[in-house]
Symmetry: C2
Subunit: 755 residues, 2 copies
């Protein structure tokens, strides 16, 4: 389970910084070179803590009422990666001397990223260098570098200069709306101290009032003089030794990062952790990392027979999800995880719709932490609803770190009310998959109720008694501020139904404390049901499709024939009005509704809609192809589904969207999991149990994966000759295959697989 | 014809700065006190040149493609108003000592603003002070202050300290989207010189590269020592003399402003003009001013019998229009004229729809200058169309000074495509009123053609063959980015028809040079006609109204009952999405379409629409009530029309919108003219001639006004006993009264007036 690059491609380094980043859900370090780059070369050197942010002012040339006047930004922390190596008087650099061999490897079984280099200096000194980096899953505050050099022919002095540099800023690009537009110092060192092998830097953010600490320790695998000194915003540690041909030596740099959102005294906490990890030693930490990953892969891997490339891509994607997911309820999963600064470290609906299912199906406890996060920001969502003019309910912010709305362009930001439905969906999915009514009573119900209330305030009954929701934006950001967006209305409907369902379940269990807390009556729950039943869902009889919204079908279709390839993604080349005016979709919208909420929708409508929208969807968003793949698979269009899957699976490895430099596409990674589990295996988790419908792409021999469902552990295996579901642990499970009900007690086999 | 305030009301001074401003279409000076204010008192001290701007950067937290990255701003120029008066050792101030009498008078016959004060100093010195200010219509670059003091009981020294201060900034208020949000130095003195009575300051803008000069001269009506000195950004002139009880003395301060948009060498030009005006002397200049205004009022006044208050308001409004209108083709009429900085001195559709008709009907040559301005920025409109994604045609910017789009919030900015129709409308109105086909051949046709082309590119034929225009915003900014806004489609239709009409007229006259220049074929002109004929115009059969757009009628009506009075204007208290989601109008939209383009619309539809929209219109825009008044009058609802008219006429005098401090509402001023001429007198200027339909509000005895039409001058008089149209000059005129055709050769009388 490795991702290997064994050629040195200067032009691809920025992208590799994301691909080879090391993260553990708490901290993340981009895959920059320890030794640095030539000064004319762009590199985004980054180190982040999930949910650790500064507050930046949002200024508008023309601010209207309710526009947020500040936003949070995940900030680039002091640089801990830098280690320079002096061989005699020559400094090691990949851009000088001769590269005899080169390999970069993300070892996903061991949880490390390794760079192996055979280098000959300009003056002829030959060294083998192997640098191993790890963000520990056992000790989440720990990032370490294991810098090993072996002399081939060099006799003499070598010197490591390792630094912690607090003079850091975020990356900015004013021409790209997807990254920060201004570069400012969001964090500065408040105290910098060093003593022998230890460095301690305490930093404070410019505006958010947060603090964090970096504590480092250095060890050489042979006795050596280690000197550290603090100067300005920097700690420099120098380690000097001598080497002879054939000899090896390694420098271990332990970096512990703690922050004030999790620790009362970050410096003290970091020093304690540092002492503990040093006591364990690197080998023990490597072992714990491997054990953790063994367990992860056993639980979570999707195995594919007969397609090594796809297997690698998929492994990479699930590993990416693992690296990105905050599991402390304070943090969540950012759009780029901890691999880069794209979308400023914000959490979006991406979590609920694209990534949550992976955790729910493989690590439900982790999924619960993600829900806890949403519960934790419910008060902010209430405040946001008031700002947006609603008298009751809660409206989740479109993008956020701690709960306040951080979207500054509301037509494709705050107008995406479907976020409420998406959050509600994940709570309901959790309930269906775990049967954990206690959690619903404690937290879930309150979220579902408040989200549902919002719809009652935002919508209204039209003259024909249909419940309508106006002036919102659906997932497709190429059409903004519309009435009765099908996806939104459908997801509101599910939210309303689900809230009522939970209300009744809790009523039966005599646990209506959430309703009491927020003054929700049986009458209001009945109101939820009435609105859901009356929900208006656009339908075009002639085409037998669901129009994306009330007006979509009346617009002109985008002139794709006259749009040159370099004009994609369209959002970077056309004024939003030009896009809004046409039938052109950035991503799945109605098709996504059919993916998530297909109950009661005629198959012909789903098929016709898929065929209609795929003609006009550019997939300029990385959240799109996976959904088209899932729906294609559901409809038996397996060849096409496979193509969509392939595009999804390889998005980052192939830099398909051209912006992997800004970070991995975590939602897309989750989408590649869904494309198999919900797509080819047809898994839907509903109130009545799990539903499957198996398909196998022609290109594969078979695939298998494990699932957690309630108290049981299942294995699903799909092969050319037939498919099987095994109960590995726990009580029997009621499930449906091709809409036929089964009781899984030991194992079930199905002869044919639809293709 | 005077506006008089004879009480000193501290709380109203900001507003009076706008009301008592002095301007002549080229320069404008707010009515600030020469002697200044206590330091804790807000005053917006301002001096402006029409169309003289700096460029300011527009930064967005999230910039999308095509957002303008800079805007123009009319800038506050060096302060020339300040004259301090020292009486012995006491400085004159209205906020100290005793005010024995006070009067402020805008004398609209003489074209001056006069402040008359009887003041007793803390130590008992009594003085009568009379300060007269004039922005000359004869010499547009001249602003002068005539500062006369008479001693009642004071014997001793008096000293004037008069300054030109280049340390100036624009007013800013980050909480109000209608004024600038940031305060920066947009202009700085490049050279400052002074010699005896003369001061010369040359200034340069920070970013736009423009220069301007202020040259001042001081004269005292008795021999005195006049000393000027330049220091830093300031020129200070001191004039010292002695006064005895009963004696008078006056200081004349001539300020000449020239700018590099009109003059190659502004300093030299200003010095030349200064020499000329000094040679004439103030009395001669006063005389020329009075003559000019005599002529203006003779031509332009609307006289009302039996309502002195309305008469005064109306005089004030027409005088305001005159003061605001740029007549050099380089400038136009800003939303606040030259009286304040609201809307940053930008030109909007306000000119074409609200103000142009006044000039067209009273001073067609002046109207032509306003058209010249639009012709002059046609190239910019072409560029703007490309930015907005259109492959052909021109799209006028929503707000601009020199032609580039200065709107930074496109949903209620650039999305207002109707600006094209509005510009086209004014060209067509000019053609109908003047029969000036030569001007059409030279300039008008090119504008009409390019504006029409834009519609072909922006719109499309739907499946039923109707021509639709999607994703635009109509005049009502409480509903943005909609499909088939009735007003927009109707105005596009008129533009297309008019372009085709002019094409054929020019073809017949063999003057198709404009079409040749831009490669417009007979086929394309036919395309104009096809699109116009197929134009989709929303119509609700059941209600017999024209819906504002495709989706408007499906939205919930705003909850007016639960909206407290302090929540108006709504835009300052609700998030735009909350407004967009509801049936609630800021201003006339469909009703405006029925006002401008009523041909072929059933009277019942116009009536039902008026009644429908007046229930949901807040008139939060000052462009609204006049239109409701006109349409009410047209429908014979005279009492209501009068109420609307009254609201319109007194907007600024009563500070009805609470923001007159930022400047007068010029469009509303034009609207008050229209409310009578197009409203009560029912004037419509069509291809076949002028149409009238007379009404007389119960509150009046009668009213009369003059009109220019083609080569003739007419007088219209409406009285209780009947109405009459007289031909005062020129050849007979074909016209329609109550849809009956007449040939006006001398005079026509109509017995009854509909009420």
């Amino acid at each position: 389970m490795k991702l290997i690059r064994d050629y040195f491609d200067k032009n691809n380094l920025l992208c590799e910084e994301s691909l080879f980043h090391t993260a553990n859900g708490y901290l993340g370090v981009r895959g920059n070179f320890e030794e640095g780059y030539p000064s004319d070369m762009l590199s985004i050197r980054g180190c982040y803590i999930n949910g650790f942010y500064d507050t930046v002012e949002l200024k508008y040339p023309e601010a209207l009422h309710g526009f947020p006047n500040s936003a949070q930004r995940m900030i680039n922390l002091p640089d801990v990666q830098t280690i320079r190596l002096l061989v005699g008087e020559e400094e090691f650099s990949l851009f000088e001397g001769e590269l005899l061999s080169y390999q970069r490897c993300l070892d996903m079984s061991r949880g490390v990223s390794v760079r192996s280099i055979e280098w000959r200096s300009p003056k002829g000194a030959e060294l083998n260098i192997k640098i191993t980096r790890m963000a520990s899953f056992a000790v989440r505050e720990l990032f370490c570098i294991d810098y090993r050099i072996t002399s081939v022919n060099y006799d003499g002095e070598v010197r490591f200069t390792s630094t912690v540099d607090g003079d850091v800023r975020n990356f900015s690009d004013p021409s790209d709306p997807r990254v920060a537009s201004e570069s400012v110092w969001n964090i500065t060192p408040a105290s910098v101290q060093a003593d022998e092998d230890i460095g301690v830097m305490k930093c404070r953010t410019a505006a958010s009032g947060l603090t964090m600490a970096v504590c480092t320790a250095h060890e050489l695998t042979r006795p050596a003089q280690i000197q550290s000194r603090a100067e300005g915003k920097k700690i420099t540690t120098t380690i000097q030794t001598r080497l002879q041909g054939g000899e090896s030596v390694a420098l271990h740099k332990y970096c512990v990062l703690c922050d004030s959102r999790r620790q009362e005294y970050p410096v003290q906490a970091a020093l304690n952790i540092l002492a503990q990890v040093r006591a364990q030693g690197l080998d023990a930490l490597y072992l714990r990392q491997e054990q953790y990953l063994n367990q992860f892969w056993k639980q979570s891997r999707v195995e594919i027979d007969g397609d090594a490339i796809v297997q690698q891509a998929l492994d990479f994607n699930l590993y990416g999800l693992l690296q990105s997911a905050g599991c402390d309820s304070v943090s969540n999963i950012a759009a780029k995880g901890l691999s880069g600064e794209g979308y400023e470290g914000h959490y979006f609906w991406d979590t609920e719709i694209y990534m949550f299912p992976f955790f729910l199906m493989t690590q439900p406890e982790m999924a619960k932490r993600l829900l806890d996060f949403r519960y934790g920001i419910l008060d902010s969502a209430r405040v946001h609803a008031r700002i947006m003019g609603h008298r009751r309910g809660a409206l989740y912010p479109w993008r956020t770190i701690t709960g306040s709305e951080c979207s500054s362009y509301f037509p494709s930001g705050s107008a995406q009310y479907h976020i409420n439905g998406d959050v509600a969906h994940s709570f309901l999915q959790y309930y269906y998959a775990t049967d954990d009514l206690g959690y619903m009573a404690e937290k879930g119900a309150e979220v579902l109720f408040e989200a549902a209330r919002l719809w009652l305030d935002a919508g209204h009954y039209n003259s024909r008694g249909m419940f309508c929701i106006d002036a919102v934006t659906g997932p497709d950001e190429y059409t903004c501020i519309v009435n009765n967006n099908y996806f939104t209305n459908r997801s509101a409907q599910q939210n309303l139904c689900g809230a009522a369902e939970i209300y009744h379940a809790l009523q039966a269990a005599n646990s209506l404390q959430a309703a009491e807390k927020i003054g929700l009556s049986a009458e209001e729950a009945a109101e939820f049901e009435r609105a859901a039943a009356a929900m208006y869902l656009p339908y075009d009889e002639q085409l037998d499709i669901n129009p994306q919204d009330d007006s979509f079908m009346n617009k002109a279709v985008w002139d794709f024939a006259n749009t040159p390839p370099e004009d994609y993604p369209l959002l970077l080349h056309y004024h939003p009005l030009a896009l809004y005016r046409h039938q052109v979709c950035k991503q799945a919208d109605t098709v996504l509704a059919h993916c998530l909420y297909d109950e009661g929708i005629a198959e012909s409508t789903i098929r016709n809609s898929l065929h209609y929208y795929e003609k006009i969807t550019t997939h300029d968003s990385s959240l799109s192809t996976c959904i088209f793949g899932i729906v294609s698979a559901r409809l038996g269009e397996a060849a096409k589904a496979y193509q969509y899957f392939l595009n999804t699976a390889c998005t980052d490895l192939e830099n398909a969207h051209g912006n992997t430099k800004d970070g991995i596409h975590t939602a897309n990674m989750g989408g590649s999991y869904l494309a198999i589990v919900a797509g080819f295996a047809g898994l839907r988790c509903r109130a009545d149990g799990m539903h499957f419908s198996f398909a196998l792409p022609d290109e594969w021999e078979g695939y298998r994966f494990r699932l957690r469902y309630r108290k049981s552990l299942l294995q699903v295996e799909v092969k050319r000759c037939g498919s099987a579901i095994k109960l590995l642990q726990g009580p029997p499970v009621r499930l449906f295959v091709e809409e036929r009900e089964y009781l899984l007690e030991d194992s079930l086999s199905f002869r044919e697989v639809s293709v």
